[in-house]
């Protein structure tokens, strides 16, 4: 299990992102997140580039758990990465 906090790249408007956050909460896991749609200008561009570097795309949610990058709310993959 990875020690670093999971990082969630999300959209404030996205139903799948909301479900992902709910899942982490339900498991009592503390995570960081950025609602990318709430960013503007330079900051938004930087985060988009960061996402493309991570996964090759800008899909939501993108979930980073240690070295594992998961694109989309796949509960089984998230569980596996968290060691649940």
């Amino acid at each position: 299990m990875n020690k670093a906090r999971p990082m969630l790249y999300t959209l404030s408007t996205c139903v799948h992102c909301k479900a992902t956050k709910r899942f982490f909460k339900s498991q009592g896991i503390i995570y960081d997140f950025i609602d990318v749609d709430k960013l503007e200008g330079r900051e938004k561009e930087d985060v988009r580039s960061e996402m493309i570097r991570l996964s090759g795309t800008v899909r939501f949610p993108t979930i980073v758990i240690g070295d594992t990058v998961i694109v989309g709310f796949y509960e089984d993959k998230i569980r596996a990465a968290l060691g649940l």
Binding site: L11, T13, H16, D37, R48, I52, R59
Partner: protein
Amino acid sequence: MRTVEGMFEEMKKIAEEEGYQFNPVQEDLDDILQGLWDNMHRYGYGSCPCRIASGVIADDMDIICPCNYRDADLVEYGCCLCTLYVDDDWIAGKKTHDPIPERRPQEYFEKGYPGIMEQKGAGDKDMAEVYRCTVCGYLCAREEPPDLCPICRAKKERFEKFGMK
């Protein structure tokens, strides 16, 4: 269109006429509609709530709800990317509820939507064909004609390739 409910009433009317159905899980439906409504208000157009918008309408033309990818996704996966629109098989649990792949090309996220004439003009073989409904004249650019014409409900067989030359 002041409220989410007002927006949904209008969407429902069109969906009923065109034979589309919405996600039956009220909680999810409410979340999706709220997201769409938020986008409508901050961007001035109803950009897809589960995709990142550029904020420039011309660049997001293909992801204004209902997006250009909805019908193909409904046929292949039984739901659109946001699961706002779903079909009977999806509701009955015959189709996976896992996330579906993104049909929008990555380059559109980076450079914006190129627009239909540009797509045809580029002469690229991968570009979508333009199909014309021979019943009502409805035109659409995609890889295959829709199963049902969204305007007049004519079947797929009634579509023909539309020449631009």
